[in-house]
C-alpha cells in the first residue's frame, strides 16, 4: 500500500512537470476535440500521433497518448447528444437518450449528466487500476472462449430490449447487422469468405466505416432532405449543466454499477468500450423503475452508457500494466509506443519501469480531471452547436467522416463502405427498422462467432462447458433473466391494466 502511494506520488511528480502537464492537457483536449467530431476516432488520433512520439522521451509520449485516450471517449458524447451522431463507436448508446433529451429542450442537462457520468466512470476504473491491477488481470486470464461467448450472448439480448416499436423489425435489423459482419477472414480456418472476389473485402467490413456510415452519414442524408424546413429552436435551459448534489445521490448507484461493469469488461482483451456501454445500458434498463423511458430521453440511460464507456479506459489499462496484454485496440498501439522506447510492457513492468507505470496511472487520473474541467467549462458554448445552421455544419462533418474512414487504415475502399452504409442506414430508418439492434448485431456477432468456434475446437464439438463452467453458466443465467424479465413485467402490467378495466 505504501509502495503504491510512493509510486503514485512519483507518477504525479512526472505529470506535474511543466512538459508532463502540458502533454496530458494537450492530449486530453485533442482527444475531446477529435472525439467530438463524428468520423474521427480516438484510435485514429493515437495512431497518427504515434510516429511523432518516437522522438519524445518515453514518459512524455505515454502521458500524451493516455490523455488522448481519456479525452476521445468523452468527447464523443457531445455530438451523440446534440446531433445524434456518435463521435466514437462507444457513444452509440448515448444517442438513444441524449438526442431525445436535447430535442426536448434539455441539451445542457443531457451533456451535464454525460460529463459527470464520464468523470465518475473514469475515476471508478482508476481506483481499480491503482489498487487491484494484478489480481484482476489474473482473474481475466480465466476467461476462456465459453465465458466470452456467454458474456456476449448476454449483451446480445439487448437487441430485443433496445428495439423501439416493432420487435420483429428490431430482430430483423439485428440479424442484418450480424450478416454484414460475416465477410472477411473466417475465424477458424483463416480463409477469406463472402468477399465476392473483391480483394479489399479480405479485411471484412470494418467497424468504423460501417458505424460512421450508419449513424453519421445517414443522419446527414436525412438532414439534407429536411434542410429547407426551419429547425425548431428548442430553448436551452441554461441551468442543468452543473449537475446538483441531488443528482450525484440519485445516480450514484447507477454510476457505481455501470462503472464496475465498464471496468470489468474493459479488462477482458478484445472486448471494447462499445460492449461495456451496451451491457451497462441493458442492466440499467432492466433494474430501472421507468424502463419505458429508455430510448426516449432517459437520464439513467445516459448515465449508464457514459459511465461505462469511460470506465473501460482504466479497465483496459489494467492487463496492459499488470501483464503486458493489450485490453483494447488503443492499448495495442500504446504497447508499440512503449516498445519503440525499449520499454517492454509485461509482468515485470512494475519492476523494470515503475516510473512509466505510475506516470500512466497518474496521467489517467489527471486526464480525467482535466476532461471534467474542460468539458464543464466549454459545454455552454459547445451546446450551441445544435443551433448552428445545418448548411454550415453538414459539409464540415461529411469531410471529417471521409477523413476518418480513410485515415484509420489508409484504404480508400473504407470510404466507399462508409458512404454505402450511409444510404443503407438512411433507408433502414425510413422503413422504421431501428439502428440500435443493427449496430449491436454487427459489433457482437464476429466476437461471438470466433469465441464459440474456438470453444468448439477445444472440445471437439461439445457445447456442455457453457453449462458446467461456473462463470459461463452465470452469464447464461443472467442472459436468460434479462430476456425474460421485461416480458414478465409487460405481462404483469397488462394483467393489471386488464384487471383495472374490468374493475
Amino acid at each position: 500500500m505504501e509502495g503504491v502511494l510512493t509510486g503514485l506520488m512519483g507518477g504525479l511528480a512526472i505529470v506535474f512537470t511543466p512538459m508532463g502537464f502540458f502533454y496530458v492537457a494537450l492530449g486530453t483536449i485533442l482527444g475531446i476535440s477529435v472525439g467530438a467530431i463524428p468520423g474521427l476516432s480516438g484510435a485514429m488520433l493515437i495512431a497518427l500521433t504515434l510516429p511523432l512520439t518516437y522522438y519524445m522521451p518515453a514518459t512524455d509520449a505515454i502521458v500524451l497518448l493516455i490523455g488522448m485516450y481519456v479525452g476521445s471517449i468523452t468527447g464523443g458524447l457531445i455530438t451523440a447528444t446534440l446531433l445524434r451522431m456518435p463521435g466514437t463507436p462507444s457513444n452509440v448508446m448515448t444517442t438513444f437518450d441524449g438526442y431525445p433529451m436535447a430535442r426536448a429542450g434539455k441539451p445542457g442537462r443531457a451533456l451535464g449528466l454525460g460529463i459527470a457520468a464520464s468523470f465518475a466512470g473514469g475515476i471508478i476504473s482508476w481506483w481499480f487500476l491503482l489498487l487491484l491491477a494484478k489480481p484482476l488481470s489474473i482473474w481475466a486470464t480465466r476467461f476462456g472462449p465459453f465465458e466470452y461467448f456467454t458474456l456476449i450472448l448476454m449483451a446480445m439480448v439487448l437487441i430485443a430490449s433496445v428495439s423501439q416499436g416493432s420487435l420483429v423489425k428490431g430482430l430483423i435489423a439485428g440479424l442484418l447487422g450480424m450478416l454484414v459482419s460475416m465477410p472477411g477472414i473466417d475465424p477458424s480456418s483463416g480463409m477469406p469468405r463472402l468477399t465476392f472476389d473483391q480483394h479489399q473485402m479480405t479485411s471484412g467490413l470494418k467497424l468504423l466505416p460501417v458505424l460512421i456510415g450508419v449513424f453519421a452519414v445517414s443522419q446527414i442524408i436525412s438532414d439534407v432532405l429536411d434542410i429547407g424546413r426551419k429547425i425548431e429552436r428548442v430553448e436551452s435551459a441554461k441551468s442543468g449543466i452543473m449537475i446538483k448534489a441531488r443528482d450525484w445521490w440519485r445516480y450514484g448507484g447507477n454510476m457505481l454499477r455501470s462503472g464496475l461493469i465498464g471496468t470489468l469488461v474493459g479488462i477482458l482483451p478484445g472486448v471494447g468500450a462499445s460492449i461495456g456501454s451496451v451491457i451497462a445500458y441493458t442492466t440499467a434498463k432492466n433494474v430501472s423503475k421507468t424502463p419505458e423511458q429508455f430510448g426516449k430521453g432517459s437520464e439513467e440511460g445516459i448515465v449508464a452508457s457514459e459511465t461505462a464507456n469511460n470506465a473501460t479506459v482504466g479497465g483496459a489499462l489494467i492487463p496492459l500494466i499488470a501483464m503486458g496484454i493489450p485490453g483494447s485496440v488503443i492499448d495495442a498501439i500504446l504497447i508499440g509506443a512503449l516498445m519503440i522506447h525499449s520499454i517492454q510492457p509485461g509482468p515485470t513492468l512494475f519492476i523494470t519501469n515503475p516510473d512509466v507505470v505510475y506516470a500512466m496511472i497518474a496521467a489517467c487520473l489527471i486526464g480525467n480531471i482535466i476532461m471534467l474541467a474542460v468539458m464543464t467549462g466549454s459545454v455552454n458554448w459547445v451546446a450551441k452547436l445544435a443551433y448552428i445552421p445545418r448548411t454550415y455544419l453538414l459539409p464540415i462533418i461529411i469531410v471529417c467522416c471521409v477523413i476518418g474512414a480513410f485515415g484509420l487504415d489508409n484504404v480508400m475502399f473504407d470510404v466507399w463502405v462508409m458512404l454505402v452504409f450511409g444510404v443503407i442506414g438512411f433507408l433502414l430508418e425510413r422503413a422504421r427498422y431501428p439502428l440500435g439492434p443493427f449496430v449491436i448485431g454487427f459489433v457482437l456477432a464476429p466476437l461471438m462467432e470466433s469465441k464459440l468456434r474456438t470453444g468448439l475446437m477445444m472440445t471437439a464439438g461439445s457445447i456442455t462447458p457453457i453449462f458446467t463452467r461456473p462463470i459461463a453458466a452465470t452469464f447464461l443465467v443472467i442472459a436468460i433473466v434479462l430476456l425474460v424479465w421485461p416480458l414478465i413485467g409487460e405481462w404483469r402490467r397488462r394483467r393489471a391494466e386488464a384487471a383495472g378495466v374490468a374493475g
Binding site: 495512431a47 510516429p51 476462456g144 479480405t202 482483451p269 508499440g336 489508409n410 484504404v411 474456438t454 477445444m458
Partner: protein, 331 residues
C-alpha cells in the same frame, strides 16, 4: 538530457557512415529524387511497424538517403497493403515490409500472389520462436511433449492463429515426431496465447523469444517465480544469448529451424538502381547503434541479406514452408 547525448553519439557514428556512403550515392545520382514511401501492411505498434520505423529513423538521422522516407500503415488484412505495393507503379519510390505470412498465405491458398510477384530488396534481422507449456504441465522437454502428442494424438490443445506463423511452427514441431498430433485451436497472437496458457485454457503454443523473456524473466535475467509458463526449446540456428539454457531444436536432434525474417520488397519491374540504393541504405542503417540496440532488446538475429543471396534464401525458405503451409491450410 539523456536523449540529447544519445543523439549526439548517433550523429558522430553517422558522419563515419556517411563518408562510406558518399561513394555509393554518387553512383546513383538519379535516385532518389523525391520522398520514398514504405507500406507496412499492418496497423501501427506491431513488430513490423517497429522494425520499419526504427530503420526509417536510423536512415534519416544518419543521412543515409538524401530524401525522406514516409511510412504508411495500411491496416486490415495484410494482403490489402501487400497487393497495393504489388500493383503500385514500379518507379522505385514504393516499398513494402512483410514476413513469412506472405508465403504462408500463398501456399495455404488464400492469396493469389506471392513473394515471386515482388522484387526482393533486403532481409533485415530475424526473430525465432520457442515452444511454451505451463509450468505445471509435467513436460520438461520437447521430447516429453511430443511423446504425449504421439501417445494421445489430437488431445493437446495448441493455441495458434490458424494459417499464421505460430500455426506453421506448431506443424513443423509435430512433424518432427512420427505420429504426434496437436489439436490446433484459434487463439491469436503472442499476447492472446500467453493469456490462454496462463489461464490453463490451452496446453501448448509458441511465442517469440522476446515475448518469452518478457513474460518469464525478471530484469536481472533470473526466472520470474510468478510466471505460469516455461519455454522448452528454441527454433533458431544457435542458442539465444538471453536464454542461454534453452537448447535449440537442432541440438535436440530435430530438424526444425524456423525464424521470421523481416523482408523488404518493391513492385516487380522496379529499376535496379532503386533496389540497390535502398538495400545499401538499409545495410548501412543496420550497422548503426540505434538498430543494434533495437536488435539486442528484442533478441533479433542481426541477419542482413540482399541481391542473389537474398533470392536464394527466399527460394530455400519457400521450399521448406510450402508443404507446411499447405498442411496448415487443410486443418
Amino acid at each position: 538530457m539523456r536523449t540529447k547525448t544519445k543523439t549526439t553519439a548517433l550523429l558522430c557514428g553517422a558522419s563515419v557512415l556517411a563518408a562510406g556512403m558518399a561513394m555509393a550515392s554518387a553512383a546513383q545520382a538519379d535516385w532518389p529524387e523525391r520522398p520514398i514511401r514504405v507500406i507496412v501492411p499492418f496497423g501501427p505498434g506491431g513488430t513490423s511497424d517497429q522494425v520499419t520505423r526504427t530503420f526509417q529513423i536510423a536512415i534519416q538521422e544518419n543521412d543515409l538517403l538524401p530524401q525522406p522516407i514516409n511510412v504508411l500503415n495500411v491496416g486490415g488484412h495484410y494482403s490489402v497493403g501487400a497487393r497495393q505495393v504489388m500493383e503500385a507503379e514500379p518507379d522505385g519510390y514504393t516499398f513494402l515490409t512483410l514476413h513469412i505470412a506472405l508465403m504462408g498465405g500463398e501456399a495455404g491458398g488464400m492469396l493469389d500472389f506471392g513473394y515471386r510477384d515482388f522484387e526482393p530488396v533486403a532481409t533485415t534481422g530475424q526473430f525465432c520462436l520457442t515452444p511454451v507449456v505451463r509450468k505445471d504441465s509435467g513436460f520438461d522437454t520437447v521430447d516429453d511433449l511430443l511423446a504425449k502428442a504421439a501417445e494421445e494424438p489430437d488431445t493437446l490443445l495448441f493455441g495458434a492463429n490458424l494459417g499464421a506463423i505460430n500455426h506453421m511452427a506448431g506443424i513443423m514441431l509435430q512433424n518432427s515426431e512420427p505420429g504426434a498430433e496437436f489439436r490446433f485451436v484459434q487463439i491469436g497472437g503472442g499476447a492472446e496465447n500467453f493469456t490462454a496458457l496462463t489461464g490453463a485454457q490451452t496446453n501448448v503454443s509458441v511465442l517469440s523469444a522476446a515475448e518469452v523473456i518478457n513474460f518469464t524473466k525478471l530484469p536481472d535475467g533470473s526466472d520470474n517465480p510468478e510466471a505460469q509458463i516455461k519455454p522448452l526449446a528454441y527454433t533458431g540456428p544457435e542458442r539465444n544469448a538471453k536464454l542461454p539454457d534453452l537448447p535449440t531444436l537442432t541440438e535436440l536432434g530435430r530438424d526444425v529451424e524456423f525464424c521470421v525474417d523481416s523482408w523488404w520488397f518493391a513492385p516487380k519491374g522496379t529499376p535496379a538502381e532503386a533496389i540497390e540504393g535502398f538495400a545499401a541504405a538499409l545495410e548501412a542503417a543496420a550497422e548503426t547503434d540505434a538498430i543494434q540496440t533495437f536488435y539486442a532488446d528484442r533478441t533479433f538475429g542481426p541477419v542482413f541479406l540482399k541481391g542473389d543471396e537474398l533470392q536464394a534464401n527466399l527460394d530455400e525458405t519457400w521450399e521448406r514452408i510450402e508443404p507446411v503451409a499447405k498442411q496448415a491450410g487443410q486443418q
